[in-house]
């Protein structure tokens, strides 16, 4: 009797265990689903926000800065990237950036988006569909070459621009994105897992200070120099035709930048909040830095100065957001505002290159500065990327991080400068880069697109 009762008791407790275990599993699944839903909602929103930065944000920003006869042509350059880079990304861009490959370039496994489905890719983001990650990254790949258009504004053929920037996306963007963010990338923070040279120089670049802004900015400088100055520059006055358009564009850039930086947390996490806050603080301090410098030097704080300072602050905080505290973000933005003002106003005029809309002055210099400052201000209190309690930035005691940041920046400068020069040379020989003189005088709108931005005769 006793024995039977004991067996029955064991049976009951085993049943209970099974029920409890099942409940625990169900619970875990439900939690994972809820997190995935939240993360995916934020990441899809972020992807849309980053696209908004290109069109209409950057298109308006650049469109307002050029002369009236070039407004549509300038906007079309950015808009064209929204179309052609999207196709390129599906065909090979994504695979070359985020496929498994060497330390310097991705592989071919995702050509034509093979294997990029609705299941998460744990190597990048374990809680969102791989397609969400892919389309989010696409928006970065669109705006990066679009930024370069500011340097060669008002003087490149539309056809040449298409070929140049498509090649640029393959030769420079995808490899840089792979090195910093791809599995086994040379500069990847978590690259050691990839083996080989992966993670040799773990470079802090939260949202693309190096991948996006240094590459586009340096390539912009090379392009401006290769192409030469616009006809009449700098003797002829070429003030922006509508600072109003630029103003609206810059505010949209600021707004979209929350998707750019806070989205780079790849989930709706506390880290996203931290990056969001740093973004706001960096932008605000950038405005103040630029305007203060301008006020002291020229006697007046201008609207164009204010919005340029915002972009400078945003560029510099891009690699740092997600690694730094709000107070550090203020410092980074402030320094960037003053530094980019100095680069645009004094350095450009001293050397005389015609970086028409200051793509290098703001993105190249702001990106380089931001990358270095990230290595200084990054802290494990915000993001313990090297493990719990391990120092991240210079101020925290990880002095070597400055070296890693320099390695990232140097590599980006080198690849961008050399790669861009080669592409420019090839495209120039094949189809010619520059507008002929008559077309340049007539303007991009009529000569390249057969239309005008402002038709005063139309009622």
């Amino acid at each position: 009797m006793l024995l039977a009762a004991g067996t029955a008791g064991a049976q009951v407790s085993a049943d209970r265990m099974a029920v409890l275990e099942k409940a625990a599993t169900d619970n875990a699944t439900a939690i994972a689903k809820a997190q995935s839903a939240g993360d995916n909602a934020w990441m899809l929103t972020s992807a849309a926000l980053v696209l908004l930065m290109s069109g209409p944000g950057l298109a308006l920003f650049y469109g307002g800065l050029v002369r009236k006869k070039n407004v549509l042509g300038t906007m079309m350059q950015t808009f064209a990237m929204m179309a052609v880079i999207t196709v390129l990304w599906a065909v090979c861009g994504y695979s070359l950036a985020f496929g498994h490959g060497t330390a310097f370039l991705g592989g071919f496994e995702h050509l034509f988006l093979r294997g990029v489905g609705l299941d998460p890719n744990p190597a990048y983001a374990a809680t969102i569909p791989a397609q969400t990650f892919m389309v989010y990254q696409l928006m970065f790949a669109i705006i990066t070459p679009a930024l370069i258009t500011g340097a060669f504004a008002e003087r490149m053929k539309f056809s040449a621009m298409l070929v140049f920037l498509l090649l640029w996306a393959i030769v420079i963007y995808s490899p840089m994105a792979h090195m910093v963010w791809g599995v086994g990338g040379f500069l990847n923070l978590n690259g050691a897992a990839g083996g080989g040279l992966g993670g040799r120089f773990p470079c802090l670049d939260f949202a693309g200070g190096t991948v996006v802004h240094v590459t586009s900015g340096v390539s912009a400088l090379v392009t401006a120099i290769y192409l030469g100055k616009r006809l009449g520059y700098p003797q002829k006055a070429m003030p922006p035709h509508s600072v109003v358009l630029s103003f609206v564009g810059a505010c949209l850039l600021w707004f979209g930048w929350f998707g750019f930086n806070a989205g780079s947390a790849l989930g709706a996490s506390g880290l996203a909040t931290s990056a969001f806050v740093a973004t706001q603080f960096g932008a605000a301090a950038g405005v103040i830095g630029w305007c203060a410098a301008e006020w002291l030097r020229s006697g007046k704080p201008s609207a164009l100065g204010g919005i340029s300072g915002a972009v400078a602050g945003l560029v510099a905080i891009t690699p740092a957001a997600g690694f730094v505290s709000p107070m550090s973000a203020l410092w980074i933005g402030l320094i960037a505002g003053v530094f980019c003002f100095w680069m645009v106003v004094l350095v450009k005029n001293r050397f005389g290159y015609d970086d028409a809309l200051d793509a290098f002055g703001v993105h190249g210099s702001g990106g380089t500065l931001g990358a270095i400052l990230t290595g200084i201000f990054a802290t494990s209190k915000v993001n313990a990327v090297f493990g719990e309690g391990k120092a991240v930035g210079f101020l925290e005691g990880n002095h070597r991080q400055i070296l890693n940041q320099f390695a990232g920046v140097l590599l980006a400068w080198a690849i961008s400068a050399v790669g861009t020069l080669i592409i420019l040379f090839v495209v120039d020989k094949l189809i010619g880069l520059r507008l002929n003189e008559a077309d340049e005088r007539e303007g991009l709108d009529v000569s390249q697109h057969g239309e005008e931005g402002y038709d005063w005769e139309s009622h």
Binding site: P239, E294, G305, S308
Partner: protein, 112 residues
Amino acid sequence: MQKIEAIIQPSKLDAVKEALVEAGVSGITIFEARGHGRQKGHTEFYRGREYAVDLLPKVKLELVVSDEMKDKAVEAIINAARTGRIGDGKIFVSSIDEAIRIRNDERGEIAL
């Protein structure tokens, strides 16, 4: 008939318009214009680059009045547009041979 062309500061347009209506002028045409006389322009700064803007925004008025209205109208414009500073503008007066109302083909002063 006399044509009065006046180039004035844009900020004086409302005052001039009111003064002309008070003086009994029935119609005016205005143009947004740019130009300069002895008043030189000003400088603008875009990203630290200095631009000398020598063509300043102005408003140009055109009105045609009967011979006896001319002095009244000119005086109204002068009184309303004058600040005493350089850049107040100019008035030009010239004779008009004919005026025609398109609607009903009326000719002469009655068409004004």
